[in-house]
Symmetry: C2
Subunit: 127 residues, 2 copies
């Protein structure tokens, strides 16, 4: 949906673009993770490109395991304006480190799984 030079997305389109379900989009708005989304005269949601962009970041934070409470904190900071830039950077940096640790852990545990697989292969071969 294009109005003037601005593009809007229906709930279905926003869902499609972001990978969140429509129900999840509504849920995110309800809990204040999303700012109140713009409505048409009839009361239907109209997601702006900015909304979709922000949802992209949420997608990425979500996929890397950030709990919703912390995403909400981030959303709140983002709404407050420029004076929260430092805090947002700190939050993302902390998260970046958590991702490092996740990858580390996964790698280490994957080694164990692989060790087990090797062990089973030998056991199967020696049978």
């Amino acid at each position: 949906m294009i109005i003037g030079s601005v593009t809007f997305y229906s709930p279905a389109q926003a869902a499609e673009k972001t990978g969140f379900s429509i129900d999840t989009l509504r849920y995110y708005e309800r809990i204040g993770l999303l700012d109140r989304i713009d409505r048409t005269a009839a009361g239907r949601r109209r997601f702006s490109s900015d909304d979709v962009g922000f949802l992209g970041i949420l997608r990425c934070l979500r996929d890397t395991g950030m709990p919703i409470a912390e995403m909400r904190r981030y959303a709140e900071l983002a709404r407050c304006g420029d004076e929260t830039l430092g805090e947002r950077i700190a939050l993302l940096e902390a998260h970046d480190e958590r991702i490092d640790r996740q990858i580390e852990t996964l790698g280490a545990q994957q080694e164990h799984v692989r060790g087990k697989i090797r062990y089973y292969r030998e056991a199967a071969g020696a049978e």
Copy 2:
């Protein structure tokens, strides 16, 4: 607790060794993820080194995101004996690939987070 040449662990010790809580150990036994754990005359659990070893694998599968239903399948196969070796290998290999994909996704999403951090840094610098 050492009896003959065999070492046993109390629930608290098993919890300590495996990183699962005592409640979780009981829960795992209840849902059949753990075989019935040996008991003392008075009915208290006595974890064998094998039990602790098996819990180590569960720990590792859990930490890499395997759902409990699938761990149960694995536990079932392990109880059945050698003729299930192939199936266990297949299960672990499938999981190994899922771990690969997890690491991939995390890495990619981490790049986005870092991009955002860089963006914020510039914005903060330009202020």
